[in-house]
Each structure stands twice: as C-alpha cells, then as structure tokens.
C-alpha cells in the first residue's frame, strides 16, 4: 500500500510533538499557529484538530506551499497522503483531512448526516485559518467537497471533483464499492487490475481477511463514510448542485467502471459551467496517473 498511496506519516516532525500541536489547536483562535503547520514540501505533517469542544476531532495531514487546497479522500485510500498530493504540494499548501470516524478522526457518531458533515468541514476550515481554499475530492471525498460547496457556496475558491459520488441514475447504478470483495473491487476501481499500482493496492494488509487489525481499520474507515452513502450514495445533492458558484472541474478516468462516465455527463449538466477532463485510467485515476492528474488539477487551479 505504502508504495502506491504514500507513506504512513508519523506525527511530531519539525520539533513539534503531536500533543503540542493539539494544544495549539485547542487553544486556537490564532490562525497563525495553525496556518504555520503547512508550508513544507516533503513529508506531510500530521495534526489533530478538535472541533465542537473535541466532540469531533479530525486528523489532518498537510504539506506544501502556495494557495490553500483541501483534499477529501475516497473509501479506498488506505492512507490519507499519496503521490498525487505530493505533486499538488509543489504548488499548493495541501490539507488532507481524514473523514470523521476513519482511523485518526473521531466523532462520526455525533453527526446526524451529510449536512452536519458539511458544517463540520466549514468549522475545520476556520480552525485551519482557511477562508477560501480550493476543494478537491475523490469518490466519496468528491461528494463531501460538492456538498460543502453547495451549502457554503462562497467558501471554495475553485472546486475539483474526481469521479465524485452523490448522484444516482437508476439505469446505471454506480458500483457497490463499500462491500465488494477485493478481487471484484480491483476490477471495478482500476482500469488495469494487473498494473503494478493496482497489484500493490490489492496486496494491502487490509485486503487480507486474516489480518484482524488491518481488517478492523479497513471496516472502520469504510463505515465512517457508509453513514453518508448507505445504501445509495444520494442524499439529495442533485437538488443543491445549482447552488455551486465556484468554478468547477470534473476529472474522470475514461474507463471508470465504478462510477461510469454517464455520471460525468450528469454532473456537467447539473453544475453550471463545469469543465470535464478525461484521463486514461479508471476510478483510481489519481493513483493510476498521479502526474497527469495533478497537472490537470494544477492547470485548472492556477
């Protein structure tokens, strides 16, 4: 896994312990202390950002320099950081929050639904001192970014949605990505299931049902997002998409079998002025083509 989607980053680099970072956030108000945590190209730093008096605490990785960019991850990104984000960090200060309930972030059980999730992310942006970050999201993360952009319509500077969930077409159901066994998942997620990236992903510890701690972490990560998409990833977003005013790029792998291209057309129809960019690849296009995907995103955002 680590080779594909980036190293597991321990906290406490830069001479600042995790606890000290927590306390700085806890006592925040001062955006400077928080904002100062970004700004490094190279290994991302890990922060824990308490919201709502600690009822919700989000684990956030950050690295890079430049305009702020928040990246929301999908179901099947085991680590919150990846080579795709390394590329983006060359031009942006990238913040990658782990969704509440996924390992490292807590409090999902207190959230009532997707609306509450967007409120939490709005609160996170304030805690991080981000007035108008770019929002980028993949899969479920794309849905979270779009929901947030629809509710807080003046928040995002620009919006990039990589094969987002959130719409539902009866004639073309998106794949039941939360539950597929690993072999079927491989075929759904990757344009070429035999590619090195796909193979490395499939040999992740959490693909092994006998690795109980990894299985527990995998289930925990997926269940955190399941709350917002079970049993169908449609919470009425279609009725809110007209509210999005941020310039929007839809990025899709041209052989996406999990969330097929008809969804790209539907998104483009519903988000006024949205651009659509196709790249060779599948649902995991940002991990299949990290350079090309990051270049497309950078081009749109700059």
């Amino acid at each position: 896994m680590a080779g594909v989607l980036g190293p597991l980053v321990a906290g406490g680099s830069d001479g600042v312990s995790r606890r000290e970072i927590d306390e700085r956030h806890g006592s925040a108000g001062s955006l400077g202390a928080v904002g100062g945590l970004g700004g490094h190209v190279g290994a991302p730093q890990e922060h824990f950002v308490p919201l709502r008096d600690g009822v919700v605490t989000l684990r956030v990785l950050s690295a890079g320099r430049g305009a702020p960019l928040v990246y929301f991850h999908s179901f099947h990104e085991v680590e919150p950081w990846s080579p795709f984000l390394d590329r983006l960090a060359e031009r942006f200060t990238v913040y990658a929050p782990v969704h509440p309930g996924a390992p490292g972030s807590s409090g999902v059980e207190t959230l009532d639904g997707v609306y509450d999730l967007t409120l939490a992310y709005d609160e996170l942006f304030d805690a991080l001192g981000l007035a108008n970050p770019h929002l980028v999201g993949h899969g479920f993360g794309g849905m979270a970014a779009a929901e947030t952009a629809a509710v807080f319509r003046r928040r995002p500077a620009r919006l990039v949605l990589v094969s987002p969930l959130g719409l539902w077409l009866d004639q073309t159901p998106s794949a039941d990505l939360l539950i597929l066994p690993v072999e079927e998942l491989l075929a759904a997620l990757w344009a070429d299931p035999s590619s090195p990236a796909a193979r490395a992903w499939a040999s992740a510890p959490d693909a092994d049902p006998d690795n109980v701690p990894a299985l527990a972490a995998s289930l925990q990560r997926r269940s955190a997002m399941a709350k917002f998409v079970w049993p169908i990833p449609d919470r009425g977003l279609a009725r809110r998409l007209h509210r999005i005013v941020a310039p929007t790029l839809l990025l899709w792998g041209e052989s996406d079998r999990a969330n097929p291209l008809v969804y790209a057309e539907e998104w483009q129809r519903r988000v006024k002025g949205a651009a659509l960019r196709l790249l060779p690849g599948g649902h995991m296009v940002i991990h299949e083509q990290p350079d090309a995907a990051a270049a497309a995103v950078t081009e749109f955002l700059t």
């Binding site: 109980v212 995998s218 925990q220 269940s223 079970w230």
Partner: protein, 399 residues
C-alpha cells in the same frame, strides 16, 4: 429444562446446482427460483409441523424474521405467530424476534407483540434481535453503523410503551412521537419475557444480563463451536455477579432422530446437506458491511458465519464431519440423548431450541423426527436443571 421447536421455514425447492449457479441464498437470490403455489403448500405444512410439535409435548414454538431469504420465508414472524395462537393452546409462542431497528416507528413492535400476548393468553416470548446484516443493511437499507443505536433507542421505546402508566412523549434521535399510548397493552406484567438472540458479541452479553433478559445463541454450527461463545457468556455473568441460572441462556441445535445411527444418515443426510450447501450460501460481500460489527467484536476475532472462507469449509462437509463437528446431533435415540445432554450441560442451557425441519426435509420426515424426539429423547433431557426456576417463561404457557 424447556424445549422448543424452532422453524426457519426454508424454501425446499432450490435447484440441485444452486450454490454453484447463484452467489447468494440471501439478499439477491432471484425470485425466478420461487414458486408461489408451492410456497402455499410449504407455509401450511410448516404450521402443521409446529402445531404437531405442541401436541407431542414441546414446551414452545419458535419463529423468526428474515428478509430476501430463500431459507427463511418469514419476513413477518408475527403473522405466523398469530396463526399459531389460534391452533395451539399450551405452548409458548417464541418470536425470535422482531428486529427493532427495521420498524418505523418501532411502536409497531410494541403493538403487535401486545396483540400476540393478549391473543395467546400470555404465551408470548418477545425476542429482540439486532438483526443480521443481510436483513437490516441490505434488504432494509439501514446504515450499518447506526443499527445498534437505533436498536437501543427502539428497545427503550417499546419497554416504556409496555410499562409506563401514562401517555408520554418520546423524543428520540430516530423516533419522535408526541403521544405514545398503545392499545392493547400486553397481558403479561410487567411485560412478556424478553429473549435476545445474538451472534456472540461481547457487548450483547453484558447488555442482556444487565436487563435480566435471556441470551440466545442461534448458530447453525452446533454445540461444539458454541461452547466457546457460551463460556464467555457465563464468564460475563460471573463477572457481573449475577446468578448463573441456566435459564438465562437459550441455544439452537440441529437434531435428527431415527431408529438407528445408520438410518439417520440415510434419511437425513440429503436434507442436512441441502441446508449447509444451499441455505448457508451467502455471498461474502453481504457478510460484513462496514460498521455492522463493533471494532471491539472484530478485534475479539469472532468470525462471521458466512462468506467465501465459510463456503469453502462447508463444501468439504460430509455426514461424518457434520456429526464429528457437532453441527447436527443425529442418530438413534440413545445417540441423540447422550449428545444432547452433553450439549445442554456443557453449555449450561435452560432453553433448548431444536431445529427439526432442516433444509429440504419434507413434512412426513419432519413429523417423524418430531415424534421420535418427543417420545424417545425429550423425557430424558427435560429434568436437567431441577434446582433452578425459569423466571423467563411466559406466564400463560402451561409447560
């Protein structure tokens, strides 16, 4: 000891190559395999079997709830229980049960169970399973991570609806009702005994014991595998300092009785095999939806009973292995007596539930199984716990 006949009401006519052609008997089993006319016959023979069991002296009759399921044709066990109330008069009607989180509002459960209790003259046992992932998360579409929370809230609402003297408002996270006031109220006071079917999760042991309910371990894998689960149940009971009355526990065991061990194999093997190969053929994607099991239970290593691995193990089963593993207790009356005594004593079971109609077993064979069991086995296992009283038996059942 109390002995109940448990019925799953399986569809008996799945094609011979079912488990190779279809990925799952549950959730997405195609209903092109289903014949309504045949099912009309099945429902009536299944009810005949349960009624016959009462006449043969069984203490209770158990029905349960499944959805989208070709081995459990009872999406509404309450309908079957209602039919049984009119054709029986002594046996406990054990509904195991209503999956609380699936009812919206769960007031419906309080009402229907109250109706059954009144209709049966106080013979109802109220079972509250959390519900399987296949039923709750896939057939009924409930988010796995909220099932337990919904269940807990619904449980509190139902118990209050049965016991509070006033008309009250219930302001829950999942259910809001301004006027809770069910008519009829149950006949048994303060309410029908509550049994909780569980799959071995640690949280449920403690939850059940603290509320003084019966815990029922319903497994299709028999008493030898059930021993570990029940041992940890009794450890929990000991740890809580609660009386270790065997009637706190219920257990399901598959049982087949014949005149001889050899005859048992000949008569029952095809039907037992149908059950394990076809009825338990559940696609692994349905076995573990994210969020259904708590992280603590996953880390405790309790495995799901379904999935690819379980299928592989099942495919290698033959009669000798069914016997050796204790999945099925089968044979002559003497063989069954000995093993059943071992089962109830070693697991400390006060409420034994026996599955007597298994898989494709036709009515005449099921009746024979019931009759032989009642005549040759039941009298020898009934008096296992003379020192204990059953505080969890419905007041109106005369057993």
């Amino acid at each position: 000891m109390k002995i109940c006949m448990f019925h799953l009401m399986p569809y008996r006519f799945l094609p011979p190559d079912f488990e190779n052609r279809y990925r799952s008997v549950w959730v997405d089993v195609p209903h092109e395999l289903y014949d309504a006319q045949k099912t009309h016959g099945l429902y009536n023979e299944f009810l005949d079997e349960l009624e016959f069991a009462e006449r043969q002296g069984f203490d209770g009759l158990c029905v349960n709830e499944h959805h989208n399921n070709a081995y459990g044709l009872m999406p509404s066990p309450n309908l079957m229980a209602a039919a049984l109330t009119r054709r029986t008069s002594k046996a406990a009607i054990v509904v195991l049960g209503n999956s609380l989180a699936a009812y919206n509002p769960p007031i419906r459960v309080a009402e229907e169970f109250a109706m059954l209790d009144v209709l049966s003259g106080g013979r109802l046992v109220a079972g509250f399973p959390v519900g399987t992932p296949m039923d709750m998360n896939f057939a009924y579409g409930i988010d796995p991570s909220t099932v337990r929370d919904r269940y807990n809230e619904a449980h509190d609402l139902v118990i209050q609806a049965w016991t509070r003297p006033d008309v009250f408002a219930f302001n829950g996270r999942y259910t809001q009702a301004r006027y809770v006031n069910i008519w009829p109220q149950p006949l048994q006071k303060p309410h029908p005994p509550v049994w909780i079917p569980g799959g071995g999760s640690l949280e449920t042991f403690e939850w059940t014991a603290k509320r003084d309910y019966v815990y029922c371990y319903l497994s299709y894998y028999g008493y030898k595998r059930g021993k570990g689960i029940m041992d940890s149940f009794w450890q929990t009971i000991e740890g809580l300092g609660v009386e270790d009355n065997p009637y706190r526990a219920g257990f399901l065991q598959l049982v087949c009785v014949a005149d001889t061990d050899a005859e048992a194999e000949k008569l029952y093997f095809p039907h037992v095999h149908y059950f394990y190969q076809k009825c338990l053929n559940v696609w692994e994607g349905f076995a573990e939806p994210p969020g259904y099991r708590t992280p603590a239970t996953i880390r405790a290593g309790v495995r799901a009973q379904f999935g690819a691995k379980a299928k592989k193990i099942r495919a290698e089963l033959n009669w000798a292995k069914y016997m050796e593993n204790g999945y099925v207790i089968a044979g002559s009356p003497a063989t069954v007596r000995d093993q059943l005594l071992d089962c109830v004593k070693s697991l400390r079971i006060g409420h034994l539930m026996v599955l007597m109609q298994i898989g494709s077993m036709p009515k005449d064979l099921t009746l024979r199984n019931i009759e032989l069991f009642a005549r040759e086995v039941m009298p020898h296992v009934r008096d296992v716990w003379p020192a204990y009283s059953d505080r969890w038996w419905p007041a109106g059942a005369t057993a």
